[in-house]
């Protein structure tokens, strides 16, 4: 080495610089390659914080459907761009803009938290980016804020309330009390219950609220005991759902006044709720033991791929991919043919693990809502609460 005249270190430095330069050149060339070849999918989901498990379940479900489709969308290979949205609405516009403007993704999939999803829907509406929402249930997204390039494969908050209100009215319950945190998701859910329960001849005698995320329920339980309604409809989630169900039972109210709610009251929380939740009725667009061939195949494939049981969130992620597959196939992978793509997605009849899934004019799911009963550590299927529930557009102009 010495005869060449370069000290060893310089030689190494030059080699490094050359390597870096080559890498840079390759990087610079890659977007051009990608545009012809790979289809870019942006996943904007919570991968840290309270909702991390939901974000991962959705991602796994999504990737499972893609894998079953040969790893492709509309015949094109896929490149994933992932952003952790941290369930923080304040960072949402910046995060989704990163995917749309910097990474140039062809479609964005996200997210769990309704506040974040609302911000994403606004950006998608302005930039015309294709957005598929695999969880967030805020009614507004497919209501006044709807736009032709935004689809939802999960549910809207009021749907579960509408279904349960109808079931309770059919059971000839006369009076009801609703209770929830004072925030959008809760008010939409209990609002849906009130709407259909009163349409069916019942009367909501009182709507109780407490500030989010307080969990001191005792004063409100005392009020429920004094009001003595025929049924109580509650919307809480996570730790609040566990505590409410346990407090309700500890106060002895469950002996005389049945407690019902959307599926989220008893989904993923039964372990912690234990005996307190036994026999509770809830409504949701999915149950684990749903008896159809697609659900059995989905559960088997998911368990094989991830060594874990799928939940409702994994199912929603799976359907987000299924809907995109329908759209991408119709335009042979060229997602720039927007009018054809949206037409195909609007007309899609997705064979979902939940049953048939299609879409309203405002791109909200039309699906069966099931009545489920808590039995042991499981939410068991009871019956179809409402067949192919189609909620009103609520201010969407599509």
């Amino acid at each position: 080495m010495k005869e060449i005249g370069f000290p060893r270190r310089t030689g190494a430095t030059i080699a490094t610089i050359a390597a870096i330069a080559t890498a840079c050149a390759l990087l610079a060339a890659s977007p051009a390659l990608a545009q012809q070849g790979k289809l870019k999918v942006g996943l904007m989901l919570p991968y840290t914080g309270t909702y991390a498990a939901l974000g991962n379940a959705i991602t796994n479900g999504f990737k499972l459907a893609i894998a079953e489709n040969g790893g492709k969308l509309g015949g094109r290979d896929i490149e994933y761009f992932t952003v952790d949205d941290e369930s923080d609405p304040a960072k949402a516009p910046e995060n989704i803009n990163k995917l749309i403007k910097r990474d140039n993704v062809d479609v964005v999939v996200g997210t769990v938290h309704s506040g974040v999803a609302l911000a994403m829907a606004k950006v998608a509406r302005d930039t015309k980016a294709l957005l598929v929402i695999p969880n967030a249930g805020a009614d507004e997204i497919t209501g006044p804020l709807c736009s032709e390039n935004v689809f939802r494969t999960s549910f809207s908050n009021s749907q579960m309330g509408i279904a349960m209100g109808k079931v309770m009215a059919d059971q000839k319950k006369k009076t009801a009390v609703t209770i929830t945190w004072k925030y959008a998701a809760g008010e939409e859910s209990t609002g849906g219950f009130k709407e259909s329960f009163e349409a069916g001849g019942g009367k909501v005698v009182k709507e109780l609220f407490l500030p989010f995320p307080q969990v001191e329920f005792q004063p409100l339980l005392t009020e429920i005991a004094a009001l003595k309604p025929d049924v109580v409809y509650a919307f809480f989630a996570g730790g609040g759902a566990v505590k409410f169900v346990k407090d309700y039972a500890a106060a002895g109210l469950n002996k005389t006044i049945p407690l019902v709610g959307p599926g989220f009251l008893t989904d993923g929380t039964l372990e912690a709720q234990g005996d307190a939740a036994q026999g509770m009725l809830t409504t949701l667009h999915y149950t684990d033991d749903l008896d159809n061939p697609k659900n059995k195949a989905f559960k088997a494939a998911f368990e094989k791929a991830y060594k874990a049981e799928p939940d409702v969130y994994a199912m929603q992620g799976y359907d987000a991919a299924q809907l995109l597959i329908v759209g991408a196939n119709a335009v042979k992978g060229d997602l720039t043919k927007r009018a054809e793509l949206i037409k195909a997605m609007e007309g899609a009849k997705v064979d979902s693990p939940r049953g048939t899934l299609s879409f309203t004019k405002s791109h909200n799911p039309i699906h069966d809502i099931y009545l489920r009963k808590v039995d042991g550590k499981q939410n068991k299927y009871v019956s179809v609460a409402v067949k192919q529930l189609t909620d009103p557009p609520r201010g969407c102009k599509l």
Binding site: G49, P219, L220, G238, K243, A251, G252, T256, E271, A272
Partner: protein, 288 residues
């Protein structure tokens, strides 16, 4: 509201207030007496609740879990004081805020790594797992009454410790003039280490005791943090009786706020705090 409902709501308010006192009592020591702004107080509460969950699953008994948990939390308090907090007594409040805020993040992440992000329940011990019927539809869980009793006992013990014992005298002396106490030949560093450990243990004990009724979930520490500071500030910095009275006032205000003014339920507690601070800027029972 008839007289029945009123009495039950009164019970609800007092019972919630006593629980608040239990959670805030540790902060009364650390913030009120030692003068350290400890934002990680909620994390100690959270650690307690998670210890109740894991240890009771391990040992099969909540009581054993609480005993082991108290030993562990005292040890945690001693280590934290020795490694981190002992360097902060002479620094300004901003640095205390930064350190303790950092601790919140560290503890939350550790919790997520060790136990995960699921919601867990802790079973109520069998002897307390029954209810007293109050009306035809409503009954009162005995475990809640048991918690209230524990809180009252603890309040009395804490008061006696601070006001009537020699160690309490040293604590109070150290709080008003550290250097003087040290120059009188007392080992003030050791006293502070013990007080800090006691504060941590109280918060963890509150978490363990409350775990069966509150359940165990991520972020549970931050939910009690603010209300603890409100208790200490209303009660008057450093006063155990003040903290007790403040807790009861807040419990009642919150309960009746939820029932009578549901639209303003989120602010009743803070309105109470504002009113009391306007009337007595030093809090209800500030020592002079």
């Amino acid at each position: 509201m008839d007289i029945h409902s009123f009495l039950i709501q009164l019970l609800n308010g007092l019972q919630y207030g006593l629980l608040l006192f239990l959670v805030a009592s540790g902060l009364t020591l650390i913030f009120g007496i030692m003068g350290i702004i400890n934002l990680a107080h909620g994390s100690f509460y959270m650690i307690g609740a998670y210890m109740a969950f894991s240890l009771s699953a391990l040992t099969g008994s909540l009581l054993t879990a609480i005993v082991v948990g108290i030993v562990l939390s005292v040890a945690l308090g001693v280590v934290l004081e020795w490694a981190l907090f002992s360097h902060l007594y002479k620094r300004d409040h901003l640095e205390q805020v930064l350190l303790t805020y950092g601790l919140i993040l560290v503890f939350e992440e550790l919790r997520s790594l060790i136990v995960g992000n699921d919601v867990h329940g802790v079973a109520v011990p069998a002897i307390f797992n029954w209810s007293i019927p109050l009306t035809a539809t409503l009954s009162y869980p005995v475990y809640r009454l048991f918690m209230s009793a524990v809180c009252i006992v603890l309040a009395v013990l804490l008061y006696l410790l601070i006001s009537k014992t020699r160690i309490g005298m040293m604590i109070r002396a150290g709080a008003s003039n550290r250097e003087m106490v040290a120059s009188l030949g007392l080992n003030i560093n050791l006293v502070y280490r013990l007080v800090f450990a006691l504060g941590v243990a109280l918060a963890a004990f509150a978490g363990m005791l409350a775990a069966p009724v509150s359940s165990v979930y991520p972020g549970m520490g931050t939910s009690v943090l603010i209300i603890c500071f409100v208790v200490v500030v209303i009660g008057g910095i450093g006063s155990v009786w003040g903290a007790l009275v403040a807790s009861l006032l807040i419990g009642l205000a919150d309960t009746f706020g939820k029932v009578l003014l549901p639209e303003a339920a989120g602010v009743t507690v803070y309105l109470l705090m504002a009113a009391i601070l306007l009337w007595r800027p030093e809090g209800l029972f500030r020592r002079v």
